[in-house]
C-alpha cells in the first residue's frame, strides 16, 4: 500500500512546483464544471426522445389504435392491436422457457457457484449478456425456422428466451446472495435439509428481488426488434398460434418508421409510445414489488 502510494506520488501527485492556490482552484472548478456539463449533455437526448415520443405519440392514441388491425397506406384509422397482443404473447411464451432457466442458473451460481464450474458459468453469463441480439436471432432461425420451414411466434420466443437467460442468472444470483446467512444457518440448525432450506427459506426471502429481476428482463425482451425480424417475421392480422408468423410492436415501429409516408411516421410515434408504456409499466411494477417487500 505504502509502496504503491509512493510510486503514484513520485510520478504524479506531487509536482515539482505547486501552482498558486488560485490556479489550482480554477482548474478544480473548471473540471467540476466540465463533468457537470457531461451530465447535461447525457440527459439532453433522453429528454428529447421522451418528449417527442410522448407529444407526437399522444396524437395517435385512441381506443381504435389499441384495438384495431393496421390499415393499408392512405386509409385513415387502424391501429396496432395485433402488435401489442403479439409482443405480449411472444414475451409470455419466452418467459416460459427463459425464466426457469435463468432463475435456475442464478440459483446454481448462488448456492453452488464457488467451484470451477460456477466460475465458468458466471463468466460465460456475463460475456453472453454482451452478445448482439441479432446473432441470437440467427440462432433461433437455425434452430426453429429451418427445421419447421416457417417463420413462427415460437422462433421469436426462443430468441427472446435466450436473451433473457444470462442477465436473469446474474441478477438472481445477486438477489439470493443478499439473503442474510443467519437465516440459512437457523434453518439448518433446526434440522431442515439443505435443499429445503434453499427453496423454502432462502429463495422465499429473496422472492421480491427475484420478481423484480424477472420483470426487468421481461421488459427488456419486450423492446427487442432485431431477433424478431426473421424469426416471428410480421403479420397483418391477429395471431395466437405458436407456429404462425406474428406481429410485434417493435417490428411495426420499424416498418412504419422507414416508410416514406407522413401518416405512417405518425403511427410509428404512437406505437413507440405504446411500447414505452408497456416497458415503463413493467419497470414500475418491478419497483413497487421491491419496495413493498422491503417495507414488509
Amino acid at each position: 500500500m505504502s509502496e504503491m502510494t509512493l510510486s503514484v506520488a513520485q510520478s504524479y501527485a506531487i509536482p515539482r512546483r505547486v501552482g498558486s492556490h488560485r490556479a489550482r482552484q480554477v482548474v478544480n472548478y473548471t473540471m467540476t464544471g466540465l463533468c457537470a456539463l457531461a451530465v447535461v449533455i447525457a440527459l439532453v437526448p433522453l429528454a428529447s426522445v421522451l418528449w417527442l415520443v410522448v407529444s407526437k405519440g399522444a396524437h395517435s392514441l385512441s381506443l381504435a389504435f389499441f384495438t384495431k388491425l393496421p390499415m393499408p397506406v392512405g386509409e385513415v384509422g387502424g391501429g396496432v392491436g395485433n402488435g401489442i397482443v403479439g409482443t405480449l404473447y411472444m414475451v409470455a411464451l419466452a418467459s416460459c422457457f427463459g425464466l426457469p432457466l435463468g432463475v435456475g442458473a442464478g440459483i446454481f451460481l448462488a448456492e453452488r457457484g464457488d467451484g470451477t464450474l460456477g466460475h465458468a458459468v458466471r463468466f460465460t453469463a456475463e460475456v453472453l449478456a454482451g452478445v448482439p441480439s441479432i446473432v441470437v436471432g440467427v440462432v433461433a432461425y437455425g434452430l426453429i425456422v429451418v427445421p419447421m420451414h416457417r417463420f413462427s411466434a415460437l422462433a421469436g420466443a426462443v430468441a427472446l428466451a435466450i436473451l433473457m437467460i444470462p442477465t436473469l442468472a446474474r441478477a438472481t444470483e445477486e438477489m439470493i446472495r443478499l439473503v442474510p446467512r443467519s437465516l440459512r444457518e437457523a434453518s439448518l440448525a433446526l434440522g431442515v435439509p439443505a435443499w429445503r432450506t434453499s427453496l423454502s427459506v432462502v429463495l422465499r426471502t429473496a422472492l421480491g428481488g427475484l420478481l423484480n429481476a424477472a420483470l426487468l428482463s421481461i421488459a427488456r425482451a419486450a423492446g427487442e426488434t432485431a431477433p424478431l425480424l426473421f424469426t416471428a417475421l410480421n403479420n397483418q392480422y391477429w395471431n395466437l398460434h405458436p407456429l404462425q408468423p406474428t406481429a410485434s410492436l417493435t417490428v411495426q415501429i420499424y416498418n412504419y418508421a422507414i416508410s416514406p409516408y407522413e401518416d405512417w411516421h405518425q403511427k410509428a410515434w404512437g406505437a413507440a409510445l405504446c411500447l414505452l408504456i408497456v416497458i415503463g409499466g413493467l419497470s414500475l411494477v418491478a419497483k413497487l414489488v421491491t419496495r413493498r417487500r422491503e417495507a414488509a
Binding site: 449533455i41 435456475g104 452478445v131 441479432i134 435439509p193 427453496l199 426488434t225 420499424y254
Partner: protein, 322 residues
C-alpha cells in the same frame, strides 16, 4: 459426487451429516440449470457455423472476409464493406460517448451530493431501458433533418478540406448512426465506470484530500490511476455493444454496401445487412454468407466482452488488495 460435495463444504452452507436424497437431486437439477448457460454458447457457435458452412466452402473464409463486393444476385459475397461500416460507426460512438460517460461517472461518484446522484442515476437507467428501435425512430425523424440542414453543411463549410467531412450532406450515413450509437452506449460505459469507482476504498481518496489536494487533483492523482483498467474495461464493453447494435444503425446508416472515407456518406454495417437480408435470403450461399457475418460478429463481441470483464475484475481485485 465428490467434487460437488467438496465445494459444498467450502461455501455458504455447512456440510450435511449425510447427503440426503433431496440434497443430491437438488444439486443435480441446479447444476443442470447452471450448465444451460454454457450449453447456450455451444448452441450459438454450432448453429451459426452450420448455417454458414455452405458459404465458407464456396467462397473460402479469408476471401469472404476480405472481399469488398456484395452482390447476392451473382453470388458474390465480401464482408469488407460491412466490417468497415461497423468499425467507423463504433469509432464515432466511442469518441463521442467516452468523455461524456466518464465525466458523468466522475461527477456522480466524486462531486455530486447524494440526492443529485440518485436522480441522475435513475435517468441514466431510463436511457438504458429505451429500446433500440425507438432511438432509430428518433434518429430518423428528428436527428437526420437537423444533421442534413444544419450540422453537415456547417461542418462541410468549415472543415470541408478534410476528407472526413467532404461530400453532399445526406443526413443519413455514418455520422447519424455513430451519434445515436454514442447515446445508446453511454449508459453502459457510465454505469460500469460508476461500479468500478465505487469499489475503490475511500481512504485513498480521503488521504489525498487530507494532504491538501483539491477534488480534481485527488481524482487525477489517485482515483484515475487506480481505476484506469476498470474504466478501460467499461469502454470496451461499450464498444462491444456498439458493434452489435442493430436497429438504430439499420435505420440511419443508409444501407449501401460501399466504402467511403467521408462520414457524410451512406454505408452498411454487419448487423444491418443481417437484419435486412436474412428473411429474404435466396439459397444456402446467401443465408450462409449472412450467418458467416453473424459468426464474425459473435466472435469479435465475445472476445471484447471477455477481455472487458477480465479488466473490470482485475481492477476491482487490485483495489481490494490495496
Amino acid at each position: 459426487m465428490p467434487a460437488a460435495a467438496a465445494t459444498h463444504a467450502s461455501t455458504t452452507t455447512p456440510p450435511p451429516r449425510h447427503a440426503h436424497l433431496g440434497d443430491r437431486a437438488f444439486a443435480v437439477v441446479v447444476t443442470l440449470l447452471g450448465g444451460s448457460v454454457l450449453f447456450v454458447v455451444g448452441v450459438i457457435v454450432l448453429v451459426c457455423t452450420r448455417l454458414s458452412l455452405p458459404a465458407f466452402h464456396k467462397l473460402g473464409f479469408f476471401h469472404f472476409l476480405a472481399g469488398s463486393d456484395w452482390n447476392p444476385v451473382e453470388d458474390s459475397f465480401g464482408a469488407l464493406p460491412f466490417i468497415y461500416g461497423t468499425l467507423v460507426t463504433s469509432a464515432i460512438a466511442i469518441v463521442l460517448a467516452m468523455p461524456v460517460a466518464i465525466g458523468l461517472a466522475l461527477f456522480l461518484t466524486e462531486m455530486s451530493p447524494a440526492r443529485v446522484r440518485r436522480v441522475v442515476s435513475f435517468f441514466v437507467e431510463i436511457l438504458a431501458a429505451i429500446p433500440s428501435v425507438v432511438f432509430g425512430l428518433w434518429g430518423l425523424l428528428v436527428l437526420v433533418p437537423i444533421l442534413r440542414d444544419v450540422v453537415e453543411p456547417a461542418l462541410g463549410r468549415w472543415l470541408g478540406f478534410l476528407p472526413l467531412f467532404s461530400g453532399a450532406p445526406l443526413g443519413i450515413g455514418f455520422l447519424p448512426a455513430g451519434i445515436v450509437l454514442a447515446i445508446m452506449i453511454l449508459p453502459t460505459i457510465a454505469s460500469v465506470t460508476i461500479e468500478v469507482l465505487r469499489t475503490m476504498p475511500s481512504a485513498l481518496r480521503e488521504g489525498a484530500l487530507a494532504l491538501g489536494a483539491t477534488r480534481w487533483e485527488a481524482i487525477r492523482a489517485v482515483v484515475l490511476p487506480y481505476a484506469g483498467r476498470g474504466i478501460m474495461g467499461a469502454v470496451i464493453l461499450g464498444l462491444a455493444r456498439a458493434l452489435g447494435e442493430t436497429m438504430a444503425v439499420t435505420m440511419l446508416i443508409g444501407n449501401q454496401p460501399e466504402i467511403h472515407g467521408s462520414l457524410f456518406a451512406a454505408g452498411y454495417s454487419l448487423p444491418s445487412v443481417i437484419a435486412n437480408e436474412f428473411a429474404e435470403a435466396s439459397g444456402a450461399i446467401h443465408t450462409g454468407a449472412l450467418a458467416g457475418l453473424a459468426l464474425v460478429l459473435f466472435g469479435v463481441t465475445l472476445m471484447l466482452s471477455a477481455s472487458a470483464r477480465l479488466l473490470v475484475r482485475l481492477s476491482a481485485r487490485r483495489l481490494v488488495a490495496a
